[in-house]
Amino acid sequence: MIETTTEFANVVLQEGTLTDPSAAAALGVGLAALGAGYAERGIGSAAVGAMAENEDLFVNGLILTVLPETIVILALVVVFLV
């Protein structure tokens, strides 16, 4: 596992995969999506909890749950810039 990691790091750094702008941008979007997913996990479970108590909160809960999604859209802008 560790040997393959160092090998992979060598490939990435020396062969210069990440110096390719579109690859770097893709990684950026992926990380942003990961962050958004983690944020939505907490908000989503809180929203479902609130909805279970009061069904009128469905719309508010939905909006708040997808708010972190904006960060992925902003990251996606980078893809078009490079």
């Binding site: 907490g42 479970s45 809180a46 909890g49 609130a50 108590e53």
Partner: protein, 348 residues
């Protein structure tokens, strides 16, 4: 049940906050104080308590109806809490709610002691703790106190209870059994709590509760002047008294009060203690320390929103609500004046 794996504080907190918002406000208490028991029951039917009042309305009436509806509603909400919490959060909530297991075990033992029948014991239970319905019906079916002790063997109350039973057989007094159950509860309350900041504050809160309980017992003993060994009522885990200190302090109320004043609780309890010295009334002291605990838990809940703190603050607030409404109903039934009833209420 489910104490391993990930916990879900966000979900639990969202639900708890919604339920907290549904509690009675100060204004509503003020309205309730002016009502008769029947009117209170009718008012409760329009709120949270609708299902319980309707379900019990045919079998009970008056203050009994209010009291049983309150207990059943409390049990429903606290059972829900255990139901939808998972992992670490479940463990922390269950610790505190086991106090209802202790209450149920004590109620059943007392019931058997005085020879009450199964139904009347059952109506006095609060099914909010960790005991399953099956466990409770096994306990209810037990014919003798010995059987109850045997059934409780596997639970947290088991350890001390068997010893206490031999005591009970010799003296025919319930005190050793009840103390054993209380110690089982308080002994496990502080067992290996995880070491994060909100949990450490939760621990402080639990220690404060134990301390206040000891202080209250000590004050009662000091005032009654009864010749009882204070160690029999001492609960381990607090930091306010050591057992030997307690033994000397119960001799003299003034020394006891100054000991509390010099402790780390001194600042919060100044007003309460001043009042105790001026008015010399136990009631306002007991209400006062409950108010301090409630305020502390509420503050904790606001400081650490995604932890156990808001849940505990909800549990306390709900218990207070139930006790307030019960005090109002009982007070009205006994014909107390409005100001007398209000002195019994704990309102923040």
């Amino acid at each position: 049940m489910n104490t391993s794996g990930t916990s879900n504080p966000e979900y639990v907190n969202a639900r708890v906050r919604a339920r907290r918002a549904a509690l009675f406000t100060d204004d509503e208490y003020r309205k309730l104080v002016r009502m008769s028991p029947a009117e209170i029951a009718r008012r409760m039917e329009e709120t949270e308590y609708e299902a319980e009042i309707n379900a019990l309305g045919t079998r009970h009436s008056g203050v009994d109806l209010i009291e049983y509806a309150l207990n059943r509603n409390l049990a429903k909400h606290f059972d829900d809490l255990l139901d939808f919490s998972e992992g670490k959060v479940y463990d922390l909530i269950a610790r505190y709610l086991r106090k209802f297991d202790a209450w149920n075990a004590k109620t059943i033992i007392r019931g058997l002691y005085v020879g009450a029948d199964r139904d009347s014991i059952e109506t006095d239970l609060i099914r909010a703790g960790e005991f399953s319905d099956r466990m409770i019906s096994r306990l209810l079916d037990a014919g003798t106190i010995e059987d109850v002790v045997t059934i409780l063997e596997g639970t947290i109350f088991g350890e001390g209870l068997t010893e206490a039973y031999t005591d009970y057989e010799e003296t025919d007094l319930l005190v050793p059994l009840e103390n054993a159950i209380d110690r089982g509860f308080y002994g496990h309350l502080l067992d290996d709590l995880p070491n994060t900041e909100p949990v450490q504050l939760y621990r402080e809160f639990l220690v404060a509760e134990i301390d206040f309980r000891n202080a209250r017992n000590a004050l009662r003993l000091a005032r009654s002047g009864a010749d009882i060994d204070p160690a029999a009522y001492y609960i381990d885990g607090g930091k306010l008294f050591s057992p030997s200190e307690l033994n000397t302090l119960v001799q003299d109320q003034e020394e006891l009060v100054s000991h509390i004043r010099e402790s780390s609780y001194g600042r919060e309890l100044t007003d309460v203690l001043d009042e105790l010295e001026d008015v010399d009334s136990m009631i306002s002291f007991e209400r006062g320390i409950e108010k301090v605990l409630l305020a502390y838990s509420k503050r904790l809940g606001n400081v650490y929103p995604m932890s156990i703190a808001p849940v505990i603050s909800y549990i306390l607030a709900k218990e207070r609500e139930v006790e307030n409404i019960r005090a109002i109903a009982r007070g009205r039934e006994a014909g107390l004046s409005q100001s007398e009833i209000e002195s019994e209420l704990v309102i923040l």
